[in-house]
Symmetry: C2
Subunit: 223 residues, 2 copies
Amino acid sequence: MTRRNYGQYCGLAAALDVLGERWTLLIIRELLLGPRRYGELLAELPGIGTNLLADRLKFLVEHGVLRRSGATGSERGYELTELGEQLKAPILGLARWGLTMLGAPSGEELARPHWGFLAVQAMLDPSRAAGIDEAYEFHVGEADFHISIKDGHPRAVEGKFAGTPAMRATTDAATFLEIGAKQLTPFEALATGRLLLEGDTSATMRCCFLLGLAPGAAPEQAA
Amino acid sequence: MTRRNYGQYCGLAAALDVLGERWTLLIIRELLLGPRRYGELLAELPGIGTNLLADRLKFLVEHGVLRRSGATGSERGYELTELGEQLKAPILGLARWGLTMLGAPSGEELARPHWGFLAVQAMLDPSRAAGIDEAYEFHVGEADFHISIKDGHPRAVEGKFAGTPAMRATTDAATFLEIGAKQLTPFEALATGRLLLEGDTSATMRCCFLLGLAPGAAPEQAA
DNA sequence: CTGCATCCGCCTCGATACTG
DNA sequence: CAGTATCGAGGCGGATGCAG
């Protein structure tokens, strides 16, 4: 009953023995954005097949990556354990790499708003936040999130910013990810009305710089 | 003729469309340690099947992750492109995570010396190198590599250290990886003769600290 | 001999139907 | 809603064949 494994005493091979099968990392991607119920996962992963999802979930629970949340029937679901949360950094690294592999959206591919939150976390370069102290808010489809920079330390957070952000961007999921994939510049998206920007223009430039969407240096923040 | 893909406009899904199939990341692991010939890859990846290796290589070349090296028939092989090299960080992250999933070596699993070099890179924590300026050398089976710290900046390098390292460790691949997986402490390995240490004891402690094998603080380096 | 391509049995995957 | 059972299709693994 033991599944197929690589039989190599190596960290990467051991990781892939647990995570390497089809759909597994995408399930973990969804759970990185919060607890999910079985039906929600099915809806976010079209094509997975119900038996496969059940198999993967059971397997990941057995290996300590996931646990069941909410024993009270009302909020029953799955969530990452601390071990599972530790996958965040490498998964974001793969997501950033994958962004460069994305071409123009083919129309066949679906884009979910909350993947924009994942993309923002992958794109965010903390080393570019020195000397900045402000917040940028994003409305991508029905998903709201923001970047808050305190003492040059940026954090990506779900939900609206508690206060007035220096910039607010409103767009749809496909446009947001297309910008992240560098298939579309923010300027082009703005010009074609697919992106709406509010707030300070220089803050917008700093935000683009922070996300690797603009080369060189960002304009300094006024005191 | 297009292979199976997830059909999601998302960075992680795009990465997995290229890297997610069986054996692919292990092929890239081998190439992270230098160019390899087809036959060498076959030998390092027992069980892969010759057709699958050829398919994966062709696919990765098509997608710009690999290229053929050495057009001169004598040194023909495969090597990572710059795009492929960018996978180093997330792959090392997965390898570090996977180290914690490794149990005791089962005897059925094979351990290659150069995977120790991968493990060292995954375990190395640059934030723990402040104030240190020395080198540690490792002999793991037939593989030689070392960590060189200059101005608090550690680097893992293949080959012997050009000079006298502050510490030299000699062991076999299985023991080295078992220590990395925390299934065995350096002390136990030393006591059972599976590990040989030469050089300054306090340097050894600093090296263990740097690799996350010792908690708390490392002893300071004498001037 | 190295570097693949072909063939075949098996296991995983994906879709649908069904149960608590 | 949350899974389990079933089955066809296709990817995988191993052996073998063949070309440079």
